[in-house]
Amino acid sequence: MNVELVLFGAFALLTLLSAGLVILARSPINSAMALVSTFFFLAGIYVLLWAHTVAVVQVLVYAGAIMVLFLFVIMLLNLGESAHRGKPTLSRILGGASAVGLLGVLGITLSRVPAQPANLGPQAQATFGTMASIGQSIFTQWLLPFEAVSLLLLVAMVGAVVVAKSRI
């Protein structure tokens, strides 16, 4: 029983609990809050994977910016608890069942694949997952996709304004 495994178990359990709350909560605001906590616990898991930078960005962007956006919209639209839960139609039953089935299949598959983390040397340990190494990689090898993503964000920004406007 090492510390890492204990931490992993705790974070994983909490993540799954929060995720369960997201899909089961009646009120969207509860779902949103559960989602924030899911993101926090996931950030913990990321740290366990030596992805410190991504973990920070997860908290900043996801749990911070995006979720604030969600909450704003929920409040803007003044959505309370929905009056009805939605009828259990055939497509819902089929869809839910197939999601559960997929979990089963993936579980069987993955449990048969023994995968171990790589043994990184001391030099790699010093740089793996750091802001410097990721930045180097993004601004050299992945510069074009990076610029494309920046363009995408610009387009999304303009698009969001155009779609959501009542009148410019």
């Binding site: 992993f8 799954l16 993101f39 990321y46 919209v73 983390p117 992945w142």
Partner: protein, 100 residues
């Protein structure tokens, strides 16, 4: 050392829960949140494999996923607002515009 398999199993569980929510929930906002869950599951897979191979590319991919998810959330929420404005509801049962 935690086996990478555990992380992958966790990602699979998250993905399936997100998918379950997308397919079952009626509130468009919650559906969006569940999509975010699925994206995070994908991110977790990227990072787990990055750790498994000791390769930084997985991290870069995770960055891009986060950026795209931000864009998607912005557009998606704008659409939700527009739909709510014109129809007064965000219930997917009441929005059946894909029919002709």
């Amino acid at each position: 050392m935690v086996p990478i398999t555990y992380y992958l199993l966790l990602a699979a569980a998250l993905f399936c829960m997100g998918m379950f929510g997308v397919l079952v929930r009626t509130n468009a906002l919650v559906v969006f949140m569940c999509v975010e869950l699925m994206l995070n599951a994908a991110n977790l897979t990227f990072l787990a494999f990055a750790r498994m191979h000791g390769d930084g590319i997985g991290h870069v991919s995770a960055f891009f996923v986060i950026a795209v998810a931000a864009a998607e959330a912005a557009i998606g929420l704008a659409i939700v607002i527009a739909v709510f404005r014109s129809r007064g509801t965000v219930n997917v049962d009441d929005i059946r515009t894909m029919k002709h």
